[in-house]
Amino acid sequence: MNPKEFLLHECENVLATLQDVLRHDYAAGSSKEFYNEFCERLNYLKSLIDPVELTDISALALFANEVSVLSTLVHRIERSHAGEFPWPFTEYLKSLANPLCKEHLVVQDEDEPIIRVYAEGGLFSYQINLENDLSVLNVGRRIFTIVFPRTLRHHVLLHAIFGHEIGHAAWAVPQHKSALKGQVVEPLREAGPLNSTSQAKNWLKQSDAPAAIVELLEAYPDEYSDISPNQLDSWFQEFMCDLFGLVTFGPSFLAAHQTLLLALDPSGCLWGPYHPPYVCRRVMLWRACQHLGWPTFPAGIQDRELRASCEGFVKKYSGEAPGKWEDIFSQEQIAKAVDALRDILTKAGTSCYLMPDDPTLLPLVKMLHGQIPPCGSDLRGSEAPANRSVDFRHILFAGWLVADELSAQATVTGEQSYFLELNKLCEMGLLQQRAIDRYNDHKAGDKH
């Protein structure tokens, strides 16, 4: 079998695997769209491989890579059992990502991406896998795969971190990338210690750097003392995605961000080729919260207990004034970037997070205290129930407010099971909210 014959043979194998996927019960949506898109790509790829001469080594190598990409993708989809991730949350996530990821492709005018979801092992497997290169198989819709950590199946509070991942997804869409780069990243890059690689290197060695940084540079001078231009580009994409998460998911993003990133690096000072130190990201978010006016939000709350709870939250996640070394952006830079980001999101049709009022937040928190899934359900025993539409992000915020209260108690009792139960209550709340919205939308449709 020569390379060309093998590639055609492998196309058939990939098709057989795709058909095997249909043996399983999937309930993650878009199955038919995915199947059709995939078949279209396979057929197109075969039509490209068919006329290739065996001597055209570069074309064969390119197509081998394409077949391999399709094989990887179908395997991921085969594993996307709906029971391995919280689909009500996923549906809400899609509603945020879809308008943003609409794009003008060659064949179709504008289409939403096909979003598939699966679970992966590993505590930090949150990601959105992007199809960046549509050069060869640019025949239809882009396919995004969203990856949840399998073991955190019920942890919807932590899933607010997906706000960051949607940022990466938007970055892959050409019409947003230029706007994000020009209007969000550029203001961040125009001043400060990360303005250039040479300044960045000096910044690492500043005398006021945290002790963990100094120790790191002393212990691993070869690995850590240099910052390349590519590294800086990646870091700024991360900063942009953090702002993205904050603006789209609100306070629950702050809490999820801190919980997950500090678990990964308790010092908050490590960095890598793609990720800047957490301490800098946290300070940037602190400044963004200041700009959005969130630290003053609790003052407007009438209910005394809820106000105390919100004050505790703000203090824990965005209340501390920054140290000098990690404060790498000015308030003006952050304001410019956040405002531009909100503008881009609004124009794309993705809703930015707005802080809730008392009548919205208080019932959700009370429901959680009473071990009832938080949603817009009317619990008053009214003759005609008046269930409310509640933004799913408020449910997550309420969940984090209560989590922090229970966390303080758990420190005393040592009992940690509250967090799973709280997440399950919020997950159930999201499911029930979808039912409420679905019913109310249907009723409104009937009236019209």
Partner: protein, 209 residues
């Protein structure tokens, strides 16, 4: 002990003692009951290689997490299926599936719940609750044991009203120590320990090689 009529049910809810959440429409409340909707998880009983209901496999484990026999016995006999709204689930003739309600229930210490089928579904051969008493103080979803006694598949969609719950007052409040159950705070169906308290009648546990 007497059954609550609608006005009493609403009063208990207004007082915050009784919770059935969410109730999507007024039609969901009958003269003396509240309709319950299908949730989105289906645990289908499947005859697989190691599926068996043998109380002896639960005996002497004391619900110990991580006990191999206990966990295997629990998990081998069910296949879990999750369906979003708008997607159906087929309950074939002779099939048994455990399904949670969409509603979250909280009962006070002086009320007991009785779950039964809605007559429109019962007429199609759907049997719903073989264990229909919900004890006072319970909180969580209710597990419906669905069996298709007819000859044709039944197509079920999450959100459909298929069961109903009525409430009976008790002669006095149940004691707090009697109200706890391993099914409390249930978010989805789980099977019970059929050996607990009856170990005297089961063979001693033999260590598997």
């Amino acid at each position: 002990m007497s059954a609550l009529v609608k006005s009493s049910i609403l009063k208990h809810m207004a007082d915050g003692k009784l919770v059935v959440s969410p109730i999507l429409c007024a039609r969901q409340r009958g003269a003396s009951s509240i309709d319950l909707r299908v949730g989105n998880v289906f645990l289908m009983v499947r005859a697989r290689g190691l599926s068996v209901v043998d109380p002896a496999r639960f005996a002497h484990t004391d619900d110990k997490v991580g006990d191999y026999e206990y966990e295997q016995a629990r998990r081998q006999k069910h296949e879990r299926y999750e369906a979003p709204f708008g997607q159906n689930f087929l309950l074939h003739p002779g099939m048994l599936a455990l399904v949670p309600t969409l509603e979250w229930i909280k009962l006070p210490a002086n009320l007991q719940g009785i779950v039964t089928a809605r007559s429109s579904w019962a007429r199609e051969g759907l049997s719903i609750a073989t264990a229909s008493l919900i004890h006072p103080g319970y909180k969580g979803v209710i597990t419906l044991e669905l069996a298709n006694l007819g000859q044709i598949p039944l197509s079920l969609y999450p959100g459909l009203r298929i069961a109903q719950i009525a409430f009976h007052t008790l002669t006095e409040d149940a004691a707090a120590k009697d109200m706890s159950s391993r099914f409390d705070m249930a978010f989805e169906p789980a099977e019970g320990n059929k050996a607990h308290g009856d170990e005297a009648f089961l063979p001693p546990k033999v260590k598997q090689p």
